[in-house]
Symmetry: C2
Subunit: 328 residues, 2 copies
Amino acid sequence: MNAGVALASVLEAGGPRLAAGLAQTEERLAVVARAAGDRIGRHAEETLAAGGKRLRPALVFLCAEKTEPDEPLVAAAAAVELLHMATLVHDDVLDAAPLRRGRATVFATGGRQAATATGDLLFSRAFAELAAGDQPDAVRTLSQASSALARGELMQRADAWSSAITRGRYIERCELKTASLFAAACRLGALLGGAGPPEREELASFGRRIGLAFQILDDVLDVSGPAQRTGKHRGTDLLDGTVTLPLIEARERDPGLAELDLCATVTDPDAALGVCERIAATGALDAVREEALTYVGEAKEVLTRARLTSERHAALELVAEAVVARYS
Amino acid sequence: MNAGVALASVLEAGGPRLAAGLAQTEERLAVVARAAGDRIGRHAEETLAAGGKRLRPALVFLCAEKTEPDEPLVAAAAAVELLHMATLVHDDVLDAAPLRRGRATVFATGGRQAATATGDLLFSRAFAELAAGDQPDAVRTLSQASSALARGELMQRADAWSSAITRGRYIERCELKTASLFAAACRLGALLGGAGPPEREELASFGRRIGLAFQILDDVLDVSGPAQRTGKHRGTDLLDGTVTLPLIEARERDPGLAELDLCATVTDPDAALGVCERIAATGALDAVREEALTYVGEAKEVLTRARLTSERHAALELVAEAVVARYS
């Protein structure tokens, strides 16, 4: 099953409620971009129009008990997507990336200053969406997630090129920079969609686990390629000094790799490709994929404990599978 | 009167209440930095420790009717300062600035990625401070201000090098990138400090006007120097393509200046200095200073209409004068 088919099956299982919610979210994102003003909104608009899977908004709607996507849910769905896009725009500035999802980035069309400000604007609008409601808990959930995302980035920078990164430290970074927003999307859906505190915790825990699986599999894909799928060269993480689980696992299997000084060795894309091949040769990629699947399994297990209608249960299971499907 | 003396007189007029509020704000900012974690909090901590005049937190306390700086006021004071610092850290990344206030910037010590993430973290923590309370109006005020700051940055980039920037467009940009946060600080103080809606509007209007004066005078200083005072070369705005009121005013007085193609002419600091001298020769700087003083006068006029104790009135008047004192 490829990613497109997997997401189509989520949409089908989510029924008209999910489809309506996502359509309203798109409208809301378009309004946010237009409200930023004429010339100055152009960058924000291009970013939002570039699309994406809208996985986080889908989690908001699927974690809500309510059957209709009302205003607070649409606002929360827009907020998590705006926050996600803010981080992507800032990432593109840092990577000086010309393209994302096959379209020119804000960095490429507007330059560093416009892209930094566009990220800040998307960030601000995420909070504005939730601030329009009267749910302090929702704002708290978003601010915790956005702090976590930034702390994850800082941790990644602080740990760059280090050979001392443990599995535990890597997982902590994934929790901060990826899982926190998946968990927040689920928590917001549960909170604003009428779920009680225990179900909120369970759904947040579900989101956290699929977020971890998502990030780990993303890190596998960076090593395994193919580049046609990812739109990036293999080994971009290595070039950046970002030590991920495939390398940590491979270092345990290949002592020579453990002694490699990344900073001195991986100085160009060819060298990165060579290290990717060496990681793959250890069999580490399959082991790491298995580890990600364990988180997906735990996520599904959490779902069986939450009080969910069979329709919501089925749709959320399919989201968990869609995360894996990107890589199969 | 120099800036230090002016601020000391604000502190004196604000009495023990203001001093206690500012001391608690410093403690809060230190806690925020430490809470970011060991290694990863270092950048945030350095940024906050670098200090500054804490003008925006002072406005929060001085606009509150309450006599004691309670938790919501301290949170709001910390929030406006965190948001302000987030924008400074991002500015330093864009300018690749090695120093701010005589200390190494986060950009200089941690690099582009750490500085971008530190800005995002400070931004997130600003919202977290306000989200801890149960005042959706306060979160709305901050999110409006932070959106305005980002839109101001985008506008500045969009208008770079343009010879068509009108006075009106320039003032609009100043409102967005500077006055909005001064106004938000006053509005938050009034809102959380027990003022009624009419007084909130008046105090926000006061903040907006001193914010405009602050930015206009800052733009004069960029042209007039001396560099020892600003810590920057004269004409950094020109080098950046940022068209400010001194140039707009001077173009009306010197037709040759009006025809100058900035982008082609101002290619190095010496060329920027030359244009600064030419602007100064038109007498534009005095006219622009007068315009800033008009906003300060209007700000004081607004104060006379607000219902304030004589102590608060006197302290807020001194803040307005402190804004001017930086430049006298």
